[in-house]
């Protein structure tokens, strides 16, 4: 991967496209954690791809390409999410939920809905992308201990939701 990144940094678009395709599923999964609408996911992935192409030369160490890319992607997801939130009427917003109604039969969204916003991304990075807690701390500029306690709290949230629904 390192050589591919270096080639892409020197303007090799084929190498850049290969890199993006290798990471496409990860970007897609993370974006689906923010948006249930495929159009929104497509838009934010396009934005991330263009940003990555534009800024690739600023990446000093090719080894960190994936974490660098994911960091850009998370920032773009947050930006689009906030932009959409600001356009909604206050009474349409509900604490802890995404903007759109997500398919209730979809287990991915059932799980996401059970988690608070601050824990969703950590869950996706840990279980979905299998980053270590140390790597997640680096991506999100958090202490590893904070990542671990959020993972724990997320699991507790899921349990409590299940208890509530069973009653």
């Amino acid at each position: 991967m390192i050589f591919k990144v270096k080639r892409a940094q020197r303007g090799d678009t084929k190498a850049f496209v290969e890199l993006m395709e290798e990471n496409r599923q990860a970007m897609q999964r993370i974006a689906f954690g923010y948006f249930s609408c495929e159009d929104d996911v497509a838009d934010v992935m396009q934005q991330t791809t263009l940003n990555a192409f534009e800024k690739l030369k600023t990446l000093r160490n090719p080894v960190y390409f994936k974490t660098w890319l994911i960091r850009i992607h998370i920032n773009n997801c947050n930006a689009l999410y906030n932009a959409k939130k600001n356009c909604m009427a206050v009474d349409e917003m509900e604490e802890g939920r995404y903007l759109e109604e997500y398919p209730s039969e979809d287990e991915f969204y059932q799980l996401i809905a059970d988690l608070s916003e601050e824990n969703r991304l950590i869950f996706q990075l840990y279980y979905g992308e299998e980053y270590t807690t140390k790597e997640i701390g680096r991506i999100l500029h958090m202490k590893e201990s904070t990542v671990r306690s959020r993972l724990y709290r997320g699991k507790e949230q899921i349990k409590r939701k299940l208890e509530t629904s069973v009653r």
């Binding site: 303007g11 678009t13 850049f16 496209v17 993006m20 496409r24 599923q25 897609q28 999964r29 689906f32 495929e38 159009d39 996911v41 497509a42 838009d43 992935m45 396009q46 791809t49 263009l50 192409f53 000093r60 160490n61 080894v63 960190y64 920032n75 947050n78 930006a79 906030n82 287990e107 991915f108 799980l111 916003e117 601050e118 991304l121 869950f123 996706q124 279980y127 979905g128 299998e130 140390k134 701390g137 680096r138 999100l140 500029h141 202490k143 590893e144 201990s145 904070t146 671990r148 306690s149 724990y152 709290r153 699991k155 507790e156 899921i158 349990k159 299940l162 208890e163």
Partner: protein
């Protein structure tokens, strides 16, 4: 209560959504076409090289001399151990580093090292080092000519801030080089620096590089690193997980250093315990280093160690404070730890009861006393 989601289930569910989606596929293809067209336009617009006398394009070769760029500041390098003394009590990786501080101002031959770098109005100076068996600690001063934003100094200016230290974030690249030329990439280390503002212009910090996550570290090596960005949060953005354009203040530049390190591997002692209870939960070893102590857990086969927390108590029965962000390393600073008690709790019991020692003791799955002077 039975868990709805096992670890495997969580992975399976959160690794779905990786299928092909037509709209996403088309959008990505469109994006790649845009990028290719942009590149082709750039290539087409390039002027052909003009060759004259065998060499055409001007090629500037910059020899960057890394020297002490500010001799006046260099003369003001802090007294050795002073940064450790000032900062070590406040940071989350608290240790008595000042006792073992080694000056970095001079090599054995009396030549000065390049330890003071100034760029973008920020001077970064490294004046001392302490080390144990798996880490090294650098005493660092960051000075801003025009002063850092008041928002950076949360200890002083933010009434909601509860920590005793401030943090400065850095973007770094680096490598560890051994005498035989072997290199190990260490980019990202020193990413979060804990320290204190001694005034509006000066931040003192102990840069902590933990090598325990790397394999086969040599005893002696050179740590070459470059800081390319120094930054922190503005206003209330510190508390937000979202970043906006004006939420951070960055100082982008280049601060390059080279530090020789000799780890003190003899300073750590490993005590074999190798005991478990009937459920198969127990402790394999206790490792006591110069500044920390930790215990290696044994769990039943097939179970994950992450589901358990190891707690360590001093001779007086008081729980040791965490050492850094690594959850199961504990600080030995100012504590009697010749004899310790090690307890194992479930993750759930720990987070539920962590403020109540009696409940932790009651719910402990396993406990053992260990003599660290064996």
């Amino acid at each position: 209560m039975e868990e709805r989601y096992t670890e495997q289930e969580l992975k399976r569910i959160l690794q779905s959504k990786g299928n092909e989606y037509e709209k996403i596929q088309k959008k990505m293809e469109e994006t790649y076409r845009m990028i290719e067209e942009t590149q082709q336009r750039k290539r087409g617009a390039r002027k052909p090289a003009v060759w004259a006398g065998g060499l055409a394009a001007a090629m500037a070769v910059c020899i960057i001399t890394l020297g002490i760029s500010n001799p006046v500041l260099a003369a003001k390098l802090p007294v050795i151990g002073a940064i450790f003394q000032a900062v070590q009590t406040y940071v989350s990786y608290s240790g008595d580093f000042s006792k073992d501080a080694i000056p970095l101002a001079e090599t054995e031959n009396g030549e000065e090292n390049n330890l003071v770098q100034t760029d973008q109005g920020i001077t970064v100076a490294i004046s001392e080092i302490a080390r144990d068996d798996k880490s090294f600690y650098l005493g660092i001063t960051m000075t801003s000519e025009e002063g850092f934003p008041k928002d950076f100094n949360r200890v002083k200016n933010d009434t909601e801030y509860v920590l005793e230290y401030d943090t400065m974030n850095c973007q770094t690249t680096g490598e560890l080089v051994t005498a035989n030329g072997k290199k190990l990439d260490m980019s990202g280390e020193l990413g979060i620096l804990e320290g204190i503002f001694i005034d509006d212009n000066t931040f003192q910090t102990i840069g902590y590089v933990d090598l325990s996550g790397y394999e086969k570290i040599a005893d002696n090596f050179t740590y070459n690193f470059e800081i390319t960005d120094i930054w922190s949060y503005l206003g209330e953005n510190y508390y937000s997980s979202e970043t906006t354009e004006n939420s951070e203040m960055h100082y982008s530049g280049s601060w390059k250093f080279s530090v020789d390190v000799s780890l003190d591997k003899a300073s750590a002692k490993v005590i074999e315990v190798n005991q478990t209870n009937e459920q198969g939960i127990g402790i394999a070893t206790v490792t006591k280093g110069k500044y920390y102590i930790t215990a290696e857990i044994i769990v039943p086969e097939g179970e994950e160690k992450d589901r358990y927390i190891v707690l360590i108590y001093d001779e007086e029965g008081n729980r040791l404070d965490s050492f850094g962000s690594n959850v199961e390393y504990y600080s030995v600073k100012d504590r009697k730890t010749d004899k310790i008690t090690v307890r194992v709790c479930s993750e759930a019991d720990f987070f539920m009861n962590k403020a109540e020692e009696e409940k932790l003791k009651e719910h402990a799955l396993y406990q053992v006393e260990v003599n660290c002077n064996q």
